[in-house]
Symmetry: C2
Subunit: 306 residues, 2 copies
C-alpha cells in the first residue's frame, strides 16, 4: 500500500514538474512580447523593464491564471494575456518594494535589484511603466458577455490598488518596529499577498467563462492559498540562507517586520500554513477532477524550500 502511494506521488510530482515547465515556457515567451524591445528609445526604460520582468522567477501568478482557466474547461491561449498582465503587476510591485525608501533590498531573484542596476529614478519609472503596461495588456483580452472588459479592469485595479496590494505594502511599512497582533499580520498578508493570488485565479476563470459557482470556488481557494503562501515565505526567510532564496534572507526578523513566525513562532506558523492548505483543497472539491492540477500546485507551494 505505502509503496504504491509513493509511486503515485512520485508520478504526480513528475507530472506537475513537467506541467509547470511547459506553462512557464508559454508565459516566458508571452512576457517577451508583452513589453517593448530593449532597443526602443529611450532604451534605458525598456532595458530596465525587461531586466526585472525576464529575470526568471517561479511565475506562480501567471501559471495560476492558466491553471484556473483549465480548471473551468477553458483554453490556455485565451488566458495568456491576463497571465502576463498579472506578472507585470507582480514585477512592478517587487521593484518598488525593493527601493531604499521601502524594504531597501539589494538582491532579487539572485541578481542586483532594479535600483542597484539602473539607479533609483529609473527603477521607480520601470515599475510605473510595468504597472501601466499591465493595464494596457488588458485592452487585448477577449471578453465574454458574462465577463466584459470592465470587470477585468475593475477587479485588477481593486486587487492592485490602495484597498488591497498597496494597502498591504503601506500597513507593512508602518508596522516596522511596532508590536503586532496576529490579526494585524493577517490584515497585511491578505492584502499584500493573497489579493494578488486571488486575482490571477479569478481572471483565469473569467477567461474560461466560468460559472459563478466555479468562480466562487477558485476565489476561496485563492484566499486560503495566498495566505498559506505568504506564511511559508515568512518561514523560509527565517530558516533559509540568502543563497538558497536568491534574495536577502533573515531581513524580516531583524527589521521586526510583520510576519507569522515573529508573532506566533515557526511551529505554529507551519501548522497554520498546513491548515490553510487543507482549506484550499476543500474549496476546490466542487471542481472535481479538473481541480487536481491546482491542488498539486498548492501542495508544491506548501512543500517548497525556496
Amino acid at each position: 500500500m505505502s509503496s504504491r502511494k509513493a509511486v503515485s506521488t512520485k508520478k504526480s510530482a513528475d507530472g506537475l514538474s513537467l506541467y509547470l515547465k511547459r506553462q512557464r515556457s508559454l508565459v516566458e515567451a508571452a512576457l517577451k512580447r508583452a513589453v517593448p524591445a530593449a532597443s526602443v528609445r529611450p532604451s534605458t526604460i525598456h532595458q530596465a523593464m525587461r531586466y526585472s520582468l525576464l529575470a526568471g522567477g517561479k511565475r506562480l501568478r501567471p501559471i495560476l491564471v492558466l491553471a484556473a482557466a483549465e480548471s473551468c474547461g477553458g483554453e490556455v491561449t485565451q488566458a495568456l494575456t491576463a497571465a502576463c498582465s498579472v506578472e507585470l503587476i507582480h514585477t512592478y510591485s517587487l521593484i518598488h518594494d525593493d527601493l531604499p525608501c521601502m524594504d531597501d533590498d539589494d538582491l532579487r531573484r539572485g541578481r542586483p535589484t532594479s535600483h542597484k542596476a539602473f539607479g533609483e529614478g529609473v527603477a521607480v519609472l520601470a515599475g510605473d511603466a510595468l504597472l501601466t503596461q499591465a493595464f494596457g495588456l488588458l485592452s487585448k483580452i477577449n471578453p465574454t458577455k458574462r465577463y466584459p472588459l470592465s470587470v477585468y479592469l475593475e477587479e485588477t485595479a481593486l486587487a492592485a490598488g490602495s484597498l488591497q496590494l498597496i494597502a498591504g505594502q503601506v500597513a507593512d511599512l508602518e508596522a516596522e518596529g511596532n508590536s503586532l497582533t496576529i490579526s494585524d499580520v493577517r490584515f497585511i498578508h491578505e492584502r499584500k499577498t493573497a489579493a494578488m493570488i486571488v486575482l490571477p485565479l479569478r481572471l483565469g476563470a473569467m477567461s474560461a467563462n466560468a460559472t459563478p459557482s466555479q468562480l466562487k470556488s477558485l476565489t476561496e481557494f485563492g484566499s486560503a492559498l495566498g495566505l498559506a503562501f505568504q506564511i511559508i515565505d515568512d518561514i523560509l526567510d527565517v530558516t533559509q540562507s540568502s543563497e538558497q532564496l536568491g534574495k536577502s534572507a533573515g531581513k524580516d526578523l531583524t527589521a521586526a517586520k510583520a510576519t507569522y513566525p515573529a508573532v506566533i513562532g515557526i511551529e505554529a506558523s507551519n501548522k497554520e500554513a498546513a491548515r490553510l492548505t487543507r482549506k484550499a483543497h476543500a474549496a476546490l472539491k466542487p471542481l472535481g477532477n479538473k481541480g487536481v492540477r491546482l491542488i498539486e500546485i498548492a501542495e508544491y507551494l506548501l512543500g517548497r524550500t525556496c
Copy 2:
C-alpha cells in the same frame, strides 16, 4: 473699432474665467469621489492620495476632457469619469517626478511635496495607487460602439506608458548635464507633456462619440497646444519667482535641464510658443463655433504668468 474689440475681448475673458471656474468645481467634486475617503484603512495611503489630488491646481487636463466633449456636441457628465482618470495620472506623475531620486522638489502647488509630507515610501505608493485607480475609474465609463472600453484603455496606457509620458521622464532624467539639441528637447516635451494633453482631448472627444475627423482635429490641436504649454512652463521657470509659481523656480537652468530657453533662448522660445498656438487654432477650424472654447483656453495658456 479698437474699443469694441477691447470690450469683446474682455467679455470673452470674463466668459472663459466663469467657464473655467464652473468646470473646475465639477472636476473637484468628482475627484473627491474618485478615491477612497481619508478614513479608510490604512488611512495613511488615502490621506496621501487626497493630499496631492485635492491640492487645487489648474485642472487643465480634466477641463480639456470636458471642453473636448462639448466641442464634439457631447455632454460634460458623460466625460467626467475620463476627466478624473486623466487628473489621477497627472497627479501620480507629479508625485513621482518630485521624488529625491528624480527632480528632488520640496514644493508643489504651494505646499510641501508628497515625500516631504508623508515620507518617500508612502509617496511612491500614493503615486502607484493613483495610477492604479486611474485605470480602475475607466471601468466605469459608458463606451460607445465606435469607442469601446478597450480603446480608452489602450490609448490611456500608451500615453502614460514607456513610449510616451514615462519615455519623456526618462529622457529628461538622462538629459541632465548633457548638451542637447532642440530636437532632443522636443522629443522630451512631446512625450513628457504633449502626450498627456492629447490624451484628455481624445478621451473627451470619444465620450461624445466624435467623428473620426473631429478626433483628428482635436489630436492635432493637442499636439501643438501641449508643446506650446511646456515651452511656456520652461519660460516661466526662468522668469518667475517660486512664490508666483507655487513650486521651486529657476531649477531648470541650474540643473542644465532639457528646456527650450536653455537651448534656443527666451525670445525664440516665446516665438515658438506663439507659432504653435496659431497652429493649434488652425487645427480647430473644422469644428467651427464649437471649437471657440478650446481656442480661448489655448490663448489663456499662452498668456499665463504662473
